[in-house]
Point group: C2
């Protein structure tokens, strides 16, 4: 067979431990606190059906024809209107925020370039940047987001950009207070480092007050990524990047080379849903659901694991991030947990340059109340067994 | 502003002459023979509406949730069943065939690697590969496809793969006879060079007999790209790559990094359309339309331009490719044509390493009969003016 030799960048695309681990979570007898799936029971099924009908009626063949690379103008205008400081011509509609991350990497990263990320950081972002072969600089992060004193040292090392999720971070669930955002934006500008703000969970706030986006604080130095994946449905693959020129134009060229444009059909459907005011209408239900799920799991885990799992209660998002007793091996515990019928994600792989072995992430988004409680019980039993060397 | 320096690969993503030219074709007073849009009047509007309803009813939340990176299993099975020699686990659903091209480039091309392409060749493919900074080796091509004697020399120079559109090539409209396909596949295997077979127009045959796909002739050495863009609707962005292992697995990893997966909603809609037998049902109308359009434009152009535009009548697809008298400058003529209210694509940019200046491409897919005839008249008048030095 004439299978060609692979590109050097595939060295950075090797099968990860985590990919293998996550395969185990698909077992039918395993309660899954590992996945990052949003709550399907809140998906707007009927609204999407009605929106499909309206989209085809309103846009006609335009909803099925090739379209502009940066997206439907009406959708770009809608996005800009949702984000203070954004202009429609700075918006590019992407096939999920994952594509926004890929496009940023494609246009700015040469092999060996530096990228600053939180430790821990969203794995999907690392996987998006990896093929462009950057070197990661990591900034420690706590319940209020990244540590700004440590950040100064990192920014001084000249990364091409800092990637950050200010609202209900994946995996930490942290939310940066406004004062820290202001300092972050000031420091980035002072060091001449662009910010990439990933904002998928922002609307899933269930406690406290809204904080300004980094983009609103400094639109000229921030690429902002937003999405309908967590508020409406990820299967639409409708998201957006808001980027200052000339970066937006370069990302548009990269997108044209990558997939021409995002589905005009799903864009037209998304536009109908948005024009119908669906986001505001659904926000209370979304927030109530995620608050309830979060508290349910937090209470159950506290009861079943006690001090063995310490975490900060998040004010939004989909994740509980916490620590086993120092020195524990969360990856080894993962296998015990699977044997007891419950799955989570060990924290190690979230650290771009390696990190502590005793952290882990639980997702409370998708399971039923009963499943959350049973999952916590299984975690507790697994922990007992793990401590007893089982 | 802290705008980061760009990646070196953006040198290969500069604004092209053609991009600037094509902006002129959007003028309302210009009849457009330049675009590559399929005939919108044949889009399955009602069928798509009905399929959306069925997709949501049949798959429920699965049609709106995250899905597997390589696509809906049922859709992959359907694709494999359409392509002799393909197995479902070799299929990866892509967001348009453009993404298939990008993924191949991402996993096999290092800067400076060689890629063999026809001269002329599809510009979108060159744009997909460009960010991975290959060097192009070009093979002359005629109405029967690429020249196999010239190909031997090119294959001997060790390209990573040969990119080819065997059925109704863009831009040439050529179709390779079976014997040439067999020789091509044999030569590629002998030289250890993989083939990338792009097959968007295969179903748009309106004359002659179906020829075997390259994939059917040698499934182990061919990445086959298929799509619904020309048979149903490009706005769905549902296409597929069929690749031998381990390439399929690498493309899947690259896709996960690029956009996680193609919209589950459009995949579910496409599956409903396919399960309903829509391709077979529509084929006669598609073929009749493109045959009629092709002959209309060919006859009108012959009448208006006479010997000044020489072309071979294609047996399928969407394009008439031809030559002005040797030494003519098609790009200069383009500007005269725009002044006369008609647009085409000058042939120069289709040559990866430069080529003759007197070729051009006309698309007959989209305009009405009246528009095709008026466009030909304007072309004729523009040619008169151009010869008179206007």
């Amino acid at each position: 067979m004439a299978y060609p030799s692979l590109a050097g960048r595939t060295d950075r695309m090797q099968s990860s431990t985590i990919r293998e681990l996550l395969k185990l979570t698909a077992r039918a007898d395993v309660l899954n606190l590992a996945g990052g799936l949003p709550a399907a029971k809140l998906f707007p099924m009927e609204e999407t059906q009605a929106a499909s009908e309206r989209a085809l009626a309103r846009h006609g063949v335009r909803a099925l024809q090739y379209g502009p690379t940066d997206g439907f103008p009406e959708l770009r205008a809608h996005v800009a209107a949702m984000l203070p400081g954004a202009q429609p011509d700075q918006v590019i509609v992407t096939s999920g925020s994952q594509q926004g991350l890929d496009l940023v990497g494609k246009v700015v990263l040469d092999p060996g370039d530096r990228v600053a990320v939180a430790a821990p950081s969203y794995m999907g972002a690392l996987r998006a940047f990896d093929p462009y072969e950057p070197e990661y600089l990591t900034v420690p992060s706590d319940a209020d987001g990244i540590d700004l004193d440590a950040l100064e040292d990192v920014l001084a090392q000249g990364p091409k950009f800092l990637y950050v999720i200010p609202d209900f971070d994946n995996p930490q669930g942290s939310c940066m207070p406004a004062a820290r955002r202001e300092r972050l934006v000031e420091a980035a500008r002072r060091h001449g480092v662009m910010l990439v703000e990933d904002s998928p969970y922002r609307e899933l706030r269930f406690d406290g007050d809204e904080q300004p986006t980094l983009h609103a604080l400094d639109p000229g130095n921030v690429v902002h990524l937003g999405t309908l994946s967590k508020t409406l449905a990820p299967g639409l693959r409708v998201a957006w990047a808001v980027a200052p020129e000339p970066l937006k134009d370069w990302m548009e060229r990269a997108k044209q080379a990558s997939d021409l444009h995002t589905s005009t059909f799903t864009q037209a459907v998304a536009l109908e849903l948005l024009d119908d005011g669906i986001l505001d209408a659904r926000k209370p239900a979304l927030r109530a659901h995620y608050r309830e799920q979060c508290h349910l799991l937090a209470d159950a885990v506290r009861q079943e694991m006690g001090d063995a799992f310490r975490f900060d209660l998040p004010a939004g998002g989909m994740f509980l991030w916490g620590e086993l007793p120092s020195g524990s091996d969360a990856q080894a515990f993962f296998h015990t947990a699977i044997d007891h019928g419950v799955a989570f994600v060990p924290g190690g792989p979230f650290y771009a340059n390696g990190g502590p072995s005793h952290t882990l992430r639980l997702s409370f988004a998708q399971p039923t109340e009963q499943e959350l409680q049973e999952a916590a019980r299984r975690l507790g039993r697994a922990w007992q067994a793990f401590q007893n060397g089982a």
